[in-house]
């Protein structure tokens, strides 16, 4: 116990001063008021959401149909909802960061240095762990079982645990806005700065536990995805017949399995330093921060490919579908994907060429880094040749894919510059690096995930998204990126340090202004994305594509209704070739009734995932504030839930054949009466989800 008082026992190190509202009351300056405002948004947002759900009497529906669901499709959608919420927060933070730097030229700007440091730390942590990771995990979750002809993931319950651990981590990130403060040590949290000596508050603890929950969730997701693809492919779906998205998913899963543990170890050891007084990464008593840096980037570099590869998979699907053409160089793409996966583990040192190792080591890692450019370049050319002799339609996902190809190559260009150690010495830790990794991750991850979202949305919800707003949003994402980040290359080459709260050189002003304008354009892109969603839901009756194949696409996921039934396939399909559904359509074998419907066994909904994830978050909150009874209580809940669940035997339920047959026949009738739509009209109201099969 920290003190003799009962509050000390009950609340640990929590005090009134932890609340931003109290801090803003005591010290009313703009920085604190922004903090209080952000906290208020979280609180009000939560209250409004809860009130709305209560008013709609939707709690039971949400609980039984969504939260406890083990359906891979619903889990996938929930992952993406988390990602979009967190994307909104982190993008607003990005606008604040850019505003501060633009405002703070020879002046303090409007946020305090500590507040600014929290902004860039949360922005990075959220974008990687709570935006990119949930988004791609959700997408893989949704699409992969449908593409390989499976009914669910290999471990549906583990899937739910992973989702709720990610949700719990996101909850901790949000809690840091309302209670206390976040780390100021950046998304990479380098010690010794994040050790108790230098960062005494709860900030780094929030970072540690949020990241730990997310990384454990991602490890389980990786295991699940890999097992699903290894063991749950439909008969005839050999590895070399899988859609390329599955290949990138399996590669990502392997990377997750091997790359996440180093992060978990690094954060656990840092936590040991902070909580138990060990000296793994301290300045003294044998501690060495270089071990942390190595561990972190041993995770950190594969992580780059974890978030990039699924998008590469999306581009392969999108470019092929909207060019109405077979993917060029399928095997080449597979080899390139796996090569990237292997090479990604051999380059981590390029994140710290400047740590004083010998020229031999730097050169070897530099060359390994440049070697990754080869398979990546091959992929780009494969997509170009996929369009070659095709019929390209400039739908919003395709526009994003094209923008990706051009922009990503520019990022690769600066990547080779950074991979060259002497050049790296000059621009490391400057805005040049910031510009570079945004240049890789915005086109390489975000555009792909958004393209995938727009491409598969009609599959998941049964209606198309508004294309006009899609184009506007894509246009803003593209121009916003160039405006926001190309100036940073110039500033970085001029020696402007990253993460700087104040700028002392007026010559940087025009570039900072352009970058700020770009940030606003990116924010507009996000708003447009939500407007698109709203408008599309409003107009959904005019845009229904219930038959399920609005783009004349190729994979098995398009061979079922939109939205697909819980069991995905009435019977598990027999696969004869690559692009299975495409050939079935061409051979006039699609939309045929099944001879004999059978009962289908599916996982029962389970509350265990929710309990484990949210209890782990409560446990994390207790650890942050040293509320030991909370830690003990919810730690015990987690362990007990896992053990009890493992004794449950009755975990499946059966869908009767009659129900499956009724659904299937209804859908087949829809397909029978639907009018096929040509490629020219697929973006019109005539599109009912049945494609015209030419050539």
């Amino acid at each position: 116990m920290t003190g003799p008082t009962i509050t000390g026992f009950l609340l640990g190190s929590l005090s009134w001063g932890a609340l931003p509202f109290v801090r803003a009351w005591r010290e009313p300056n703009i920085s604190e008021i922004i903090g209080a405002g952000a906290g208020s948004i979280v609180v009000i947002g939560a209250v409004v959401t809860i009130a709305l759900i209560t008013w709609l009497q939707a709690w039971e529906y949400l609980w039984t149909q969504w939260f406890t669901s083990l359906d891979h499709k619903k889990i996938g959608i929930m992952y993406i909802v988390i990602a979009l919420v967190m994307l909104s927060r982190a993008l607003i933070e990005a606008v604040l960061i850019r505003s501060q730097q633009a405002a703070a030229i020879n002046g303090p700007g409007f946020v305090e240095p500590g507040h600014f440091a929290q902004l860039f730390s949360t922005h990075g942590s959220i974008m990687i762990f709570f935006m990119a990771m949930p988004f791609l995990t959700g997408m893989v979750n949704y699409v992969v079982p449908l593409q390989i002809g499976a009914r669910d993931m290999a471990f549906p319950y583990l899937n739910s645990v992973g989702l709720w651990l990610t949700a719990g981590g996101s909850g901790l990130m949000m809690a840091s806005l309302v209670v206390g403060e976040f780390s100021t040590g950046g998304w990479s949290g380098y010690p010794p700065y994040t050790e108790l000596n230098f960062s005494g508050g709860p900030g780094p603890d929030y970072w540690i536990w949020a990241i730990t929950l997310a990384s454990i969730g991602s490890t389980t997701a990786g295991i699940n995805i890999a097992c699903t693809i290894y063991k749950f492919r439909a008969p005839g779906m050999t590895f070399l017949r899988m859609p390329l998205f599955c290949w990138t998913a399996v590669c990502t899963a392997i990377l997750m399995i091997f790359a996440m543990p180093p992060l978990t170890v690094a954060t656990a050891l840092l936590a040991a330093d902070r909580y138990l007084g060990t000296h793994f990464f301290t300045d003294d008593l044998g501690g060495n921060m270089m071990n942390y840096v190595n561990l972190f980037w041993l995770f950190g570099h594969p992580e780059v490919y974890i978030v990039v590869l699924p998008s590469f998979g999306v581009y392969s699907e999108v470019v092929s579908a909207f060019s109405s053409k077979e993917l060029y160089g399928y095997k080449s793409l597979v080899i390139a994907t796996m090569a990237i996966g292997v090479l990604s583990f051999t380059v981590w040192l390029h994140h710290f060429f400047t740590m004083g190792q010998s020229a031999d080591i730097n050169a070897v890692f530099g060359i390994a880094t440049m070697a990754i450019a080869i398979p990546t370049g091959v992929k780009i050319y494969d997509w170009i040749f996929t369009m070659f002799r095709g019929e390209v339609r400039f739908t919003p996902p395709m526009v994003l894919s094209l923008a990706f190809m051009v922009t990503f190559v520019l990022g690769g260009f600066t990547g080779v510059i950074l991979a060259t150690p002497p050049l790296n010495y000059m621009v490391h830790n400057t805005l040049f690096v910031v510009a570079h990794f945004h240049n890789m991750l915005i086109p390489g991850t975000l555009y792909g995930l958004l393209a995938g979202y727009m491409y598969w949305f009609p599959k998941a919800f049964g209606f198309r998204l508004n294309e006009r707003l899609g184009w506007i949003s894509a246009g803003c994402w593209i121009t916003g990126f160039y405006l926001a980040f190309f100036p940073l290359y110039v500033l970085g080459a001029s020696g402007m340090a990253r993460r700087t709260h104040e700028v002392f050189d007026p010559a940087f002003r025009p570039w900072l202004y352009v970058a700020l304008f770009g940030a606003f354009v990116l924010f507009t892109a996000l708003v447009t994305l939500f407007v698109q969603l709203f408008v599309s839901i409003r107009d959904r009756h005019a845009n229904m594509v219930a038959v399920g194949d609005p783009w004349d696409a190729r994979g098995l996921e398009w061979s079922v209704a939109a939205p697909p039934p819980e069991w995905n396939f009435a019977v598990i399909p027999q696969v004869e070739s690559r692009d299975a559904f495409y050939w079935r359509k061409r051979n006039r074998e699609a939309y045929k009734p099944v001879d004999h419907y059978q009962d289908i066994e599916l996982p029962k909904p389970s509350a265990c995932g929710v309990i484990v994830g949210l209890s782990a978050a409560a446990c994390g909150f207790g650890l942050v504030w040293r509320i030991w009874w909370l830690v003990a209580l919810f730690g015990a809940v987690v362990v007990a839930t896992v053990i009890i669940r493992s004794f449950l035997r009755d975990v499946t339920r059966t869908i009767p054949a009659a129900e499956v047959e009724a659904f299937d026949r209804r859908w087949l009738a829809q397909a029978h009466y639907a009018k096929p739509v040509s490629r020219q009209r697929e973006m019109s109201r005539r599109n009912e989800g049945l494609a015209e099969w030419t050539a």
Partner: protein, 341 residues
């Protein structure tokens, strides 16, 4: 001077062109409108690129020493080689996508075409060859420009201690120390040994030499040289807390006589950098102006390295009584072009 002259001339040229577009073209109003939009874009672009030069001359693309010069040279080589990689993609993506658009009924359509050995060769072999060429340059230059490698000539030894939020430079052979100001003789190589009294930091003097980390309990090295006299920016670029943005220092390269004069001045400074002064300096503060010490405790640098290895209680210095050194956490410091006065 010359750069600003060119800038003014260019801007004038563009303004004249903007004011009288009809002089150059008497075509329809649409053409004129396109022209005015284009010239507006050109004007903005030109203004920005000129402003860019105004910013870029802070960086290694305007080198003031042999290391930065060599790095700039390598930059040009890498950029040139990379043009052959990105050029084709930047051309092919829009061309192919547009030519094979759905509405173009004259373009070929071969939905089942998906492989060609010759194309495979074309997309695997040339990029690999380019990487091999780049790798050769990389291997050579990484060794040539190894920050630990000493430059030819008798180098001036300087020891740098990164503190929170200031840099302490000790001249062991001269027995003097300077805080937040690095004075070096122009034309003579300098060899820096670095350590940290606190968290990890990274020193960068953009126009002179690249970065190296400074870490507690360890000693890293950096060679640099200034070709001519002048004042350049030095900074820590690894975030290390609330005073991070103020952790900048001037690098003053002086010619022989000026440097000798400075040394004499330094020796006349009354303050001595001993253990207590050092402990006060390592408190988490920013300095309003540079400090000068005419004498230094011998082996202070080695002592700092050893201190961290043994106990290195980085924060305990906070408990020590303060010395009357001009410390400040205030940030209202006048700054000139990113540099403390």
């Amino acid at each position: 001077m010359q750069a600003s002259l060119v800038r003014v001339m260019l801007l004038q040229l563009i303004t004249v062109y903007l004011a009288h577009p009809d002089r150059l073209c008497g075509a329809s109003s649409i053409v004129n409108r396109v022209r005015s939009i284009l010239s507006g874009a050109i004007l903005t672009g030109a203004a920005l690129s000129l402003a860019g030069c105004g910013a870029l001359n802070r960086g290694f693309l305007f080198p003031a020493g042999p290391i930065a010069g060599a790095i700039r040279h390598e930059w040009i080589v890498v950029c040139f080689i990379m043009l052959f990689v990105i050029g084709p993609v930047l051309l092919l993506v829009p061309l192919v996508a547009w030519h094979y658009r759905l509405s173009n009924t004259r373009s070929a359509y071969r939905p089942q075409w998906g492989f060609s050995w010759s194309l495979e060769g074309l997309i695997w072999i040339p990029p690999s060859a380019i990487v091999v060429i780049l790798a050769a340059f990389l291997w050579r230059d990484t060794h040539r420009l190894d920050p630990y490698k000493r430059l030819p000539g008798h180098a001036l030894e300087i020891q740098a201690i990164a503190a929170d939020w200031k840099w302490i430079f000790i001249y062991p052979e001269q027995g003097i120390a300077s805080v937040n100001r690095l004075v070096i003789p122009a034309g003579r190589p300098v060899h820096l040994s670095l350590t940290s009294a606190t968290v990890m930091q990274s020193i960068l003097m953009p126009r002179l030499a690249g970065q190296i980390y400074a870490m507690a309990g360890m000693r890293t090295q950096l060679s640099l040289q200034a070709d001519r006299s002048g004042r350049f920016l030095g900074e820590n670029v690894q975030f290390n807390g609330m005073g991070f943005q103020n952790e900048k220092f001037a690098v003053d390269a002086m010619d022989g006589a000026e440097y000798a004069h400075w040394l004499a001045e330094m020796h006349a400074e009354p303050d001595r950098l001993g253990a207590t002064e050092y402990e006060t300096l390592t408190r988490r503060t920013t300095l309003p102006h540079p400090l000068a010490f005419g004498a230094v405790e011998p082996d202070l640098f080695d002592h700092v390295v050893m201190l961290a290895q043994k106990s290195g209680h980085a924060l305990e210095v906070e408990k020590l009584p303060a010395l009357p050194l001009p410390m400040a956490v205030s940030r209202d410091v006048p700054h000139d072009q990113g540099m403390p006065p």
